[in-house]
């Protein structure tokens, strides 16, 4: 009775069959290294993380009103300059306000109507947008709109599930997903790190990189500090990049840019 499935498995040749590492290496060589590789156009960030690649889940976090959406919008504009047009789920900022925040609204794609707390709906729109418009970059603002926290007994586990599904989608579909997350309230701003991300340690465990952003009015009125908490592919840790808001977008300050350029030449 038990012979049958074993016999079938011996001849099994489905796409998930078990193969040797040598065969796998040969198969991987047939594939392009990356389907999409796009730069942030923030010199020090690009120098340290070597741009963004398909299959990556990037977390953008920071306290409320500290520049998360602005950073995401800056990246959006910079991606469109490289002819990559992202798909946006702007739950936090109403659509007219969201579009008016761009100095020049770029070409992006958006669902005509948003549905909150329905992850399968988000996954379906991501697939729809890819099939229709070949979008490989996705921004979701923000995580807590993807599930109903009021009905959740254990937010941490729920978040872990959401993050894992997004990461799987990024890997299987060849997407770069940027997910915006809030930090825990009351946490001292000087202590901000990926450990301050609200509700779950799964967020940083499952993601490829965490970018923390906060405004630094003590430096200058329009200044902000971006910190690459970690980046799995390159191994970068706690890299700080000073930014300044100019014409509705974040740019690296001149001094830092020169340093990054010098480092690139070296």
């Amino acid at each position: 009775m038990r012979e049958q499935p074993v016999k079938n498995l011996k001849e099994y040749d489905g796409e998930d069959q078990v193969i040797s590492s040598h065969e796998m290496a040969l198969k991987l060589k047939e594939r392009p290294e990356a389907l999409i590789r796009v730069k942030s156009l923030i010199p020090s960030l690009d120098a340290s993380i070597e741009g963004f690649q398909d299959g990556e889940l990037i977390i953008i976090s920071g306290p409320t009103k500290m520049g998360k959406t602005l950073l995401a919008q800056t990246l959006t504009v910079n991606f469109t300059k490289q002819q990559y047009f992202p798909l946006w789920f702007s739950y936090e900022v109403p659509l007219p306000q969201f579009l008016s925040q761009f100095a020049e609204p770029p070409l992006i794609y958006l669902p005509q109507k948003l549905r909150a707390h329905v992850l399968p709906w988000v996954e379906e729109r991501i697939q729809e947008s890819f099939l229709k418009w070949r979008t490989r970059i996705v921004f979701i603002d923000h995580l807590h709109f993807l599930f109903d926290i009021a009905r959740t007994k254990n937010p941490s586990i729920e978040i872990g599930t959401v993050i894992r599904r997004l990461k799987t989608l990024a890997v299987n579909g060849g997407f770069i997903i940027f997910l915006l997350c809030h930090t825990t309230k009351g946490k001292s701003e000087s202590d901000l790190s990926y450990e301050s991300i609200r509700d779950s340690s799964f967020i940083s465990q499952e993601s490829d990189s965490v970018l923390m952003i906060k405004r630094t009015p003590d430096v200058a009125e329009n200044a902000a500090r971006l910190r690459v908490e970690f980046h799995r592919r390159t191994g970068v840790l706690e890299k700080v990049i000073e930014l300044v808001k100019v014409d509705g977008a974040l740019r690296e300050t001149e001094k830092r840019r020169e340093e990054a350029a010098r480092k690139d030449l070296e």
Partner: protein, 80 residues
Amino acid sequence: MVTPSLKDQFYQELEAWALEQIRAGQESISLMAEVRERCAADWEIEELTRAIIFDEAQIMESMKGEAERARAAREESQRV
């Protein structure tokens, strides 16, 4: 003589035409993005598709302007 309803129809059709051009641009960009991905190793195709995508995006931008102007003109003519 150009009647108000004829003017209204003209601007309405102009807006619809501009919207159609925007949709055609989206289709074209999508197709070029797919070609760029599939031929990632060929830098010449990469450059060409990039240039076409850039042009299409510019055309879409100007068509958006056309549609907005047509809509504004129609609203204006309705007010008069």
